[in-house]
Symmetry: C2
Subunit: 493 residues, 2 copies
């Protein structure tokens, strides 16, 4: 037996590559943020849904098996085909929270209310090459309305996103939700007489607007341009007349929503779908105003074009507008933390029936990072009061002290390591970020007192005071045993 064990090498104690563990405040801060967001979703009538982490590859859909092992992008495995047991199906970990919603909306369509408002929070998994800041398991936090074609649903989701950001702790003025509509872009394409074959190319150039500006995009849409290195980039080949509506669209943001809408109406020209898109934006803006959500919080901004390929109607993106210092100490805007929009075909894959849906997704890690950068991530990590052990035969006395503190709602624990070296106990309390240590030797026990040591004040004195002052130890006080809880309470403030 011992021989066998020797032969087997010890396993490596390592988190799998691309995965990570969360300790202490990492867990509680995220949880508190998600709790605050869930409260907002709930108040808006959304119900929680927690689907299984595992789906059939067939139901996930995006990764239908066209090779022997359909694991491109997902973690997948094949069940053993066992009578009464495994089905031989390919199973996989969900890669987002939308695909499982589609499955649930189809599976339970006769039981769920329609429209169905649901929120979901939880980990998703991506079988991608891990990199710095790129993990293969991460949290998503979504809210979707399934079964409503009304732009009122889009307006509600959009307004809820603003409330969720404020609920999480982002102050008004520190964020902006920008709103656009895929239908307006479709109208612009129609006005520009861009065919289906060219649409992809045009979209790609539009995406470069932030980088190369109006003149640059004009060149890219028509005859091409030279990039910084001097290399020729081929143009899409539109005429100047064709490029005009596209450029009008990209530069249509006015001083307010009314001006922007007027510019957009011009950009879509005679296109019916374009006019419908502009009307929808106007309706959403009116509804948001009725809800008390002004343009300082949610604004129509046609330059939001990312993701337009995926969505079919209104789209939006939330950006944090305050500056933070990047890793090189340069100021930069925090950027996007959430987005969403209207999409079709959610349930259609399963049932053949079109079911309209609209939803939002918050980038949990990014929003939490933003809250941390602003010092708003919640509960500062405070360790427990540590009851030290001077006399191991009186463990019961020490546990009674911890129990009294806990019953008073104070976080407390007895030192459970080897009590021989008292210095180690204080080092432990230090590592635990303990605010207070309790000390009672045999002498104090006989006199019915305890020593209560203010570790935060003690650390301050040790850092700032002279040796003589430090020796006076004003951070440690002796109180009657019966006053233990009261004295700890006094120190904790």
């Amino acid at each position: 037996m011992a021989k066998d064990q020797k032969k087997q090498p010890r396993p490596k104690a390592e988190t799998p590559k691309g995965f990570r563990d969360y300790f202490g405040a990492d867990v509680t801060e995220r949880k508190e943020m998600l709790d605050r967001i869930a409260e907002v979703y709930h108040r808006h009538g959304f119900d929680p849904l927690e689907t299984s982490a595992v789906e059939t590859v067939e139901a996930l859909g995006k990764f239908l098996p066209d090779v022997d092992r359909p694991n491109a992008g997902v973690f997948a495995w094949q069940e053993e085909a066992v009578p009464g047991g495994g089905s031989g199906d390919w199973l996989a970990l969900r890669y987002d929270l939308t695909a499982p919603l589609a499955r649930v909306a189809a599976q339970f369509r006769n039981d769920l209310p329609s429209p169905y408002r649901r929120y979901a929070m939880g980990p998703v998994w991506r079988n991608e090459k891990p990199g710095p800041g790129r993990f293969r398991q991460f949290y998503q936090c979504d809210a979707d309305t399934v079964g409503s074609a009304s732009v009122a649903a889009d307006a509600e989701i959009c307004g809820m996103l603003a409330d969720a950001l404020e609920g999480a702790g982002i102050e008004r003025g520190d964020y902006i939700v920008r709103l656009n509509n895929r239908k307006v872009l479709n109208g612009v394409m129609e006005a520009a007489e861009v065919g289906a074959d060219q649409a992809e190319d045009v979209l790609r150039q539009i995406d470069k607007f932030d980088k190369v500006g109006e003149a640059g995009v004009r060149q890219l849409l028509t005859t091409g341009r030279k990039d910084e290195s001097g290399a020729e980039i081929e143009g899409v080949g539109l005429s100047d007349a064709q490029a005009a509506p596209v450029l009008a669209f990209l530069t249509s943001k006015g001083a307010d929503n009314a001006a922007t809408l007027e510019n957009l109406r011009k950009a879509v020209g005679a296109s019916a779908i374009g006019a419908e898109g502009v009307d929808e934006l106007a309706q959403i803006a009116d509804m948001l105003a009725a809800m008390g959500k002004g343009e300082d919080r949610i604004v129509i901004d046609p330059s939001i074009v990312r993701g337009l390929g995926y969505y079919t109607g209104p789209v939006f993106e939330a950006e944090l507008t305050f500056e933070i210092l990047d890793e090189k100490g340069r100021k930069r805007q925090f950027g996007s933390v959430a987005g969403g929009g209207r999409y079709d075909g959610l349930v259609e894959r399963f049932t053949g029936q079109k079911v309209p849906a609209t939803g939002l997704s918050i980038g949990v890690d990014r929003l939490l990072a933003a809250l941390r950068a602003k010092g708003l991530a919640g509960s500062e990590a405070v360790g427990p009061v540590v009851v030290t052990v001077m006399d191991r035969d009186r463990m019961g006395d020490y546990q009674a002290m911890a129990a009294e503190l806990r019953n008073a709602g104070i976080r407390a624990e007895v030192y459970l390591g080897n009590p021989k070296n008292f210095g180690n106990q204080l080092k432990y309390a230090d590592k635990r970020l303990s605010p207070v240590a309790i000390i009672q030797g045999g002498d104090e026990a006989a006199r019915g007192v305890v020593q209560v040591k203010d570790l935060i004040l003690g650390a301050k004195i040790a850092a700032e005071a002279s040796h003589e002052e430090w020796k006076a130890q004003p951070a440690q006080t002796e109180v009657p045993r019966a006053d233990l809880v009261a004295e700890v309470r006094r120190i904790l403030g």
Copy 2:
């Protein structure tokens, strides 16, 4: 394109076999219970830990690959070996929360405080044949102390379990934690001169004590017995003198802990390990008494033998003592909802060093079922106030009403389905368990009023009142638009 789609059959919208989805109150009730338990753990100085759902099969350990596909019991898959990407390792979903703790305790042993108190809550996955009430993904809720050999750690965990049950909502008197010690059993085996080769057989017979009683176990340990069908069951072959200490152990529970401990001392005879075990139980009982945890909550009970094979020292099990009705309407005790104990070798597999540990695990689904059976599962599901849509052109007005209610902290939503059929809107409100519906047609809007319909009272009247009374509709009141929030508040109480 359309042709291709036709060829591909529609995917089935099904939760994979053995998995399930949680809706609405199922999610929030479990969450609230776990939040209350986490608060207790935190107050005892335990820190949260959330490990990745995925581990290397090597680190999980129990299922080391001895076949081509090491997936017996776990969901496992092999990474593709790609330069800079997948490692070719076998990965798997965790099957419990203890194996990941072992990996973390080894991996971060230089950074974590020692002893390390941690709690963990989350799903685990088992690749087992699904059955009624047996799922392949379920929640666990653990707390462990790693790195303390002191029985003070066991006493703390044991006491914390009682507090956790009360924190979750189980009343004192409705549960009992029973405490035993593996070392006492080892001492009994020594006193009975049972060798290592027979120990397994003896343990198996001991487990039948509940079923066949003292006389039955005596037969099973010695010459054998007939079961109900008349079939002969072979005995282990101990002499009566050998069986005596084992039976003394099983029947050692006295009127109180002191009496039980005295009986146990006799049962272990001259065994040193047995005496150590009894001493440990005595110390734990003293410490629990010092913490204010009496024998009505935590009691020494040597009949707790389940799991003794796995644990190495003190073990305990929490049982709910109230009666519920089973599926056949018969009264029965609710039974076990949590257990734990001391175990060795946790980190040793990774580092070669023995690290003592003790912990508890609460059966999340069982405890939640118990709370539901007692009507204590928390927030009763209350749906949102539904603002109905009488005039789709005034969607902004309806959304303003919902926004006002939400701003006042009231859960509310606008009906987002097709508003044409008003009956459907009330049916929807019914399905949503809405307490109140808001109605404002063009006439009401012109007069500056809204109709507020008390749906709960309305349902009561419809069920109990005569047709005439019902027609009077006292459950619906007209109030000035400005009084909307106040009126809804009045109805919600």
